[in-house]
Amino acid sequence: MPITGKQRAQKIDPKYHTRRDSFLNWKRWLGFIGLTLGLGYSGWLVSDQGKAHVSTGPLSRAHHAWNDTGCDHCHTPYLPIRLDSLWGSAHATIAKNNQKCNGSCHSLPGHFVDATLPDIAAGVSCSQCHREHLGFDRNLVEVPDSDCAQCHKSLERVAKTTPKVHPVASHFNDAHPVAGFESLTKDPGTIKFSHVQHMRPGQPRTPGDATAKRLENLPAQYRDRYAPLVDSDGWIQLQCADCHDPIVQNVQFENHCVACHSLDGIPHGLNRQLTLDAIASQLPSDLFQYFKNRKGEQAIDEGEIREREIRLQSLASSQTEGCMKCHLPAPEASNAMVQSSQVPARWMPKANFSHDDHRMASCQSCHPQPFEESTSSVDSLLEADRIMIRGIEHCRTCHVEDPVKRAQQFASNPHVATANCVDCHSYHADGFVASVRSQSMSFAP
């Protein structure tokens, strides 16, 4: 018997979709597990233990002690720390965030704050350049050039007045001012010194003249030191490192000059009065005994004693011997014996340079002038005026900004290096702070 439509409809359970079904059970159970896991994990995330999971990456070595639980040392809750956050560039926000770094832990000066437009200066954030959460080995000081170029691509935009320094310095290879030493017309030092002469075998003023030094010309106490420098012809052949000591950066008379340029016991570096006193004190009544004591048991005849006496007396006044052999005379009114050497300790006062980092290069590659071949007599005074450092173009042969070009050059020049702003420059203290590394020098081959 055919059934009616109503009977047919009644066959269908109106709650068929709620009937127990393995798929539905799976869905409900897994959904419940998902919800529970989500709530549990979220709860754990806001706990101290969960902060490491919230972190966007490991903190650098400098801040790593706070890596797991120390978020609040740098972050103010619900205050954006990133400058590109929606409200992160507000000056009040930046000031509050900067205070967390500079003031509580660090104490660093700004960068030409007085010369910068107030609006620009107030918009500088620590985290803008020192980007954290990029790994344990991340060097926070390695700031990308683009950060420096924000201002230095056009200083006119950010400076209160027309900048006195180069307005554009955004790319080392093509938009960078010449280095500091290149703006000098002559060496500011006052020492009458010829590198060319001192790099000659025996250091003669003119090649082959009688002033050339052999080991036996040196006082006995210096012979051991200079014995390894004697060449096959018996001449003393100086090397750069013999005067440019790896530890003591500046050349010092007592260490590097005295072996050849003896002052006969008169101290070096005193003022006029003390120097004259010292000379006077070197004229004892019993000169014979004095020189006997100085030379041990070696006998010195009367003539030599008299000669020494005259020599000592002339040291203070001679224009070619004694002090004036190397120094320029001090003004009459001055208490100084001679003018100070004024050899710059840093040739690039706004940049850090480490000889140690450039040890793979020979001295001659950057300082070719001392190695010039010459047969003529040298004029120490004239030669002392020469700048003996190659220009920035030579730096650019190794320091290449473009990573693609750098990779291309690597085959021909394995010492090719980056050319980032921070490779040479410091930011804080107006860029004049030299890094510790730059103070060390090494001339080891």
């Binding site: 018997m1 047919r8 989500g38 590109d84 956050s85 929606l86």
Partner: protein
């Protein structure tokens, strides 16, 4: 092809998704190039793109409450589903742009991993729901309504018993014990079903079975007396020991007279070729008069084999939803945590 056929349905959500992703990508690129660094999630474009992605995730999760509230008829289901699919697909790229193409820390990496899982499982499900029904249409002619498989299986078992009883007479005592029919029917009553006047389970709805079963019984009445005693013994023995357990071993709430696990693992009827061989051997043991009866039984067995394939296909087609939905819930909860924590530490 299905997408082409339903172009009118998918075009709008596809265009919306494509525009969102392209606009987000372009905005991010322009912003990054202006600031010489990748965009962060807390920057203006990052925040806007992230908000759009979060809104999409919220919309995707609304599919569940919408099912609960379908009596309110909130938009057409197909339209909603099309937006669910295409916006869900757009959500991945948008989240990736929002993150500045980085996974970030552990939490955001987990979040991104969960999003990828949800996307991949969704794409998998989308493909399955297109491919499998088409395949079933061509390969499973005996397909029934999935929820009716157990009922139809039970109905087939009872119908087969009725067929044998009418054609061969009662089961000989030496045959394996059958599952008590009273217990089976009691079990059905317990689940709210009962037999109607024609002996059919009333829970079987229109469309669940393709042929009218009474025709078999009518044939059985005509065939009475054509079978030898050997046929009666062999066929009842085969039915009680192998065929009926194969029909009933997956029907729940039935007090089986056999070990369902062993049947599931070792039944010779589980595989089409094996069952053909098995019926061939049975035919050799019986007289030629029994061939029509055995054909009827074999037809029921083959139908049941297709139910097993249908169960498997159904699992492939629907089981992913459990994982997709549960991970979506997890993702939704963690998204809220991400928003709060990002505001705190951005």
């Amino acid at each position: 092809m299905l997408l082409v056929r339903k172009l009118h349905l998918h075009l709008a959500p596809f265009l919306v998704s494509a525009v969102l992703v392209m606009a987000g990508g372009i905005w991010q690129s322009v912003y990054s190039s202006m600031h010489d660094r990748p965009v962060s999630g807390s920057s203006l474009p990052g925040l806007v793109i992230g908000s759009v992605a979060a809104a999409i995730i919220l919309f995707e999760l609304l599919l569940w409450p919408r099912k609960r509230l379908r009596r309110f008829k909130l938009f057409r289901t197909k339209t909603w589903m099309a937006f669910h699919l295409w916006l869900g697909l757009a959500c991945g790229p948008l989240a990736w742009i929002h993150a500045g193409y980085r996974t970030g820390g552990s939490f955001t990496t987990i979040l991104m991993g969960l999003l990828v899982f949800v996307l991949v499982s969704g794409i998998y499900g989308w493909i399955m729901q297109i491919v499998i029904p088409k395949w079933m249409l061509g390969n499973l002619p005996h397909e029934t309504i999935y929820s009716q498989i157990d009922d139809v299986s039970l109905q087939n078992a009872l119908e087969a018993r009725q067929l044998l009883t009418v054609a061969l007479g009662p089961k000989p005592p030496q045959s394996s014990k059958l599952t008590p029919i009273d217990d089976v029917t009691a079990s059905m009553r317990g689940s709210g079903s009962r037999f109607d006047e024609s002996g059919h389970l009333d829970r079987i709805v229109v469309g669940a079975t393709q042929k009218r079963l009474p025709s078999r019984s009518a044939w059985a009445l005509e065939a009475q007396g054509q079978f030898s005693e050997l046929d009666r013994v062999e066929i009842w023995k085969a039915y009680a020991s192998t065929i009926e357990p194969f029909f009933l071993h997956r029907v729940p709430n039935v007090p089986y007279a056999f070990d369902a696990k062993i049947v599931k693992a070792r039944s010779p009827l589980g595989n089409l070729q094996q069952s053909i061989d098995w019926f061939g051997r049975l035919r050799q043991a019986c007289s030629t008069n029994s061939s029509v009866l055995l054909d009827r039984l074999q037809s029921l067995v083959e139908q049941h084999q297709q139910f097993a394939v249908q169960r498997s296909a159904h699992a492939w087609m629907h089981r992913w939803i459990a994982f997709h939905a549960s991970v979506s819930v997890l993702l939704g909860v963690l998204l809220v945590a991400h928003i709060v924590l990002a505001m705190k530490y951005a």
